[in-house]
């Protein structure tokens, strides 16, 4: 394993860890998704059931080195969406639970810290993509 694989594997592991709680309790995650007040009601349950598994699949592919380019692009798109949604909430003054690593609504991480963390993960995704290309 070369050093160039590290960002890809770290990113993959982070996404696998992040999705575990959401996979185990999709209804609690649905509650957090609803709190964001962005999706229409009809889309909340499908997103709550599908998104954690998309995170898992992409994370597992990055760790295993399968379809890494596509998985990195999907993860980057997810991170950009997360940053946009969190920024929108920050602007609207909603201090809802992030739902990033846990479905516990009482775990409040600061919105700004969460956005910064997602930007760092996005940098990891870009590094992973560039190293793959090179």
């Amino acid at each position: 394993m070369s050093m160039k694989s590290l960002p890809r594997i770290i990113l993959g592991l982070i996404f696998i860890i992040a999705c575990t709680g959401k996979i185990l309790d999709p209804l609690a995650f649905a509650e957090i998704v609803r709190n964001y007040q962005i999706l229409p009601e009809i889309m909340i349950l499908p997103v709550a059931y599908f998104l954690p598994w998309l995170e898992f699949t992409c994370g597992a592919m990055l760790v295993c080195g399968v379809l890494t380019e596509t998985a990195t692009i999907i993860i980057s798109i997810m991170l950009i969406l997360f940053i946009a949604v969190l920024s929108a909430n920050l602007y609207r003054g909603l201090d809802v639970a992030c739902g990033c690593f846990s479905t516990d609504g009482s775990l409040k991480s600061g919105m700004v810290e969460t956005i910064v963390r997602d930007i760092v993960l996005l940098v990891f995704a870009v590094m992973s993509y560039k190293f793959k290309k090179s």
């Binding site: 996979i23 309790d25 999709p26 209804l27 609690a28 649905a30 509650e31 957090i32 609803r34 709190n35 007040q37 009601e41 349950l45 059931y49 599908f50 954690p52 598994w53 998309l54 898992f56 699949t57 992409c58 592919m61 379809l67 596509t70 998985a71 692009i73 999907i74 609207r92 003054g93 909603l94 201090d95 809802v96 639970a97 609504g105 009482s106 409040k108």
Partner: protein, 155 residues
């Protein structure tokens, strides 16, 4: 060549999505989760918006329960006198604990900071899901309360 590459990329994205959807379906079919998603019942409960005059009347009559949907730290700094704090992020056991002492037959008025704040609607919706039926939201929030010349209570 370029079209072939794009097509290959789209097929790979679709493959990942199909694998994810398949895993989600299989996992949740094998381990069914009891759904407590009663949004249709919630949609039948109308959440009213109350104006400043209505708010003052409800406050002075003492017949309404005021719910502050902001964070506990914001609540501690100042809130409508007698209000109960139910932060918008509260879910499950924590939410149940916070609302345990609120009588379900009373008028509930939920507020947060002001017009740009969506927390009061989140909490009102959660209360509707918990069986509260007399629900109102004060959209002007704490800004409106202060604008009416009323004082705050601090913890």
């Amino acid at each position: 060549m370029k079209i072939g590459k794009k097509l290959s990329f789209i097929l790979k994205v679709l493959l990942i999505c199909v694998i994810s959807a398949g895993l989600a379906w299989s996992f949740n079919s094998l381990r069914p989760v009891a759904s407590d998603h009663n949004s249709s019942a919630v949609q039948q409960i109308e959440i009213f918006e109350i104006d400043g005059a209505g708010l003052i009347e409800a406050f002075e009559s003492g017949e309404a329960v005021f719910i502050d949907a902001r964070s506990d730290s914001d609540f501690a700094m100042g809130h409508i006198p007698g209000a109960t704090n139910v932060p918008s992020w509260a879910v499950h056991a924590e939410l149940d604990g916070l609302i345990a002492s609120i009588p379900k037959d009373k008028m509930i008025i939920v507020y947060c900071d002001g017009l740009s704040c969506g927390k009061s609607k989140i909490v009102a919706r959660k209360l509707a899901e918990k069986g509260f039926s007399k629900l109102a939201v004060y959209p002007d929030g704490l800004d409106g309360w202060l604008g009416l010349g009323k004082d705050l209570e601090a913890n």
